[in-house]
Amino acid sequence: ITSAMEVCKSTDISLREFGCEQNLLSRPDGSASFIQGDTSVLAGMYGPAEVKVSKEIYDRATLEVLIQPKVGLPSVRERSQEQCVRETCEASLLSFLHPRSSLTLILQVVHNDGSLLSCLLNAACMALMDAGLPMSCLFCGVTCAINSDGQIITDPTVAQEKESRAILTFAIDSTDHKVLMSSTQGSFSVYELQQCIAVCQKASEKIFLFYRDSVQRRYSKTL
């Protein structure tokens, strides 16, 4: 782990420019847009609302995540992303405080320029917070790519993703900076995995600072 930390120090963690706006839609109970460079996602959160009897869970809320691609209908890839986002949200939401109700999160991909899953996770977190749902902690998504030279690139673009031999996305929580969810593709060694986790944990601190800034900006307008 010490060696991973050293590498982490020497690696310059560069994230693209981030942007976030909360409460931009009037109809949903919570909404957010999240932008990472040219990747952009719009999130709408409904709930706690009435739930269908077939989906009712007697001791917690039913969370449903729907991802709408930019073009066409949701396919297998969106389903797998939905599952990643849902399981991360379930880990941080205190869903037992709203039993027998439904929470619906709709994520619309506006543009994909790499690191889409991490952008989806970040938009989801901001929308949950905007809806005022109780959460035990915040979470963020960080994507990193390992290129052919073995270098780790955080927050890669589509071009960088294409050149890389492995892409790893982690969801990291805000209290202990532990990994809540991981989604990987490509081949990498155990050592590289540990390196990537360390890099992503480091990057998550930046993202959480950004979260705090953007929420502060929002509440500064409070009348």
Partner: protein
């Protein structure tokens, strides 16, 4: 031990939170000790009452909703957030829509995840013989008698003494609009400037439900519409913009 106590308090004060500060879920909440602390005084139990947005987790208090830290003397703390969806809470007064009559209860939509029940006996002067005149589609102003996460919420239109006390079915006329929960709380805050500005425009009646529904009635339909539109625009206006807008309305130039 008094020495260590004093030390503990000073360290708390240095890390203490500011009232009005933005807190995010997962942040730890510290209760700030009083400014002047006598070392010889007998140990007083410092208890803080935690309202919405704060949760006890083991021996710590954690924030579970993002928003601004609020404080009410002497020891009540809560987190104020901008939410639009209502979650029933005991004792709160809300505006509901009667959606069904089933036997001896009415089902009332209050904008929460479940319909609330309202017994026909919980109206002023109602008896088994003398049923209140409530139709499906009527608006009622009612108070939560039972509201917790595990049970069906229950409304009443009487106080503890059996008096209506302002609660009950709405008469004809008037308009109901939906605003955010934060705006209603701002209107209901004691000495609210917003409320003073609004009530200075036209003579009107206004009923505020904590579930974000507001009912307005003025002497004419036109004035009712103006008031309800102004109310909805107050959501995003700063105090200066609001005063400018209200001034123009008063002069009739809008």
């Amino acid at each position: 031990s008094t020495q260590t106590r004093a030390l503990k308090y000073s360290s708390l004060r240095s890390t203490g939170l500011r009232v009005g500060q933005v807190l995010l879920p997962g942040d730890q909440f510290f209760c700030e000790a009083e400014e002047t602390l006598s070392l010889s005084a007998t140990a007083r139990r410092d208890t803080a009452v935690c309202g919405p947005g704060l949760r006890r987790s083991g021996d710590r208090v954690l924030v579970c909703v993002g928003g601004l830290l609020r404080h009410k003397a002497p020891n009540v703390f809560w987190v104020q957030s901008h939410s639009k969806r209502y979650v029933p809470a005991k004792g709160e007064c809300v505006i509901g829509i009667v959606t069904a009559k089933s036997g001896d209860v009415f089902k009332v939509d209050v904008g929460a995840s479940e319909l609330a029940s309202l017994s026909y006996l919980s109206f002023e002067g109602a008896t088994k013989r003398n049923r209140p005149n409530v139709q499906v589609g009527d608006l009622v102003y009612a108070q939560f008698l039972v509201a917790n996460k595990d049970m069906e919420p229950e409304l009443v239109c009487i106080d503890g003494a059996g008096r209506a006390n302002g609660l009950g079915v709405f008469g004809s006329g008037g308009l109901m609009v939906k605003v955010s929960l934060g705006l209603v709380r701002r209107l209901l805050a004691p000495g609210s400037e917003l409320m003073a500005d609004l009530s200075g425009l036209f003579p009107s009646e206004m009923v505020l439900g904590l579930n974000g529904r507001v009912w307005v009635k003025s002497s004419s339909v036109q004035q009712t519409l103006i008031l309800s539109n102004l109310l909805q625009s107050c959501e995003t206006l700063s105090p200066d913009q609001r005063r400018a807008l209200f001034h123009r309305v008063k002069q009739g130039t809008l």
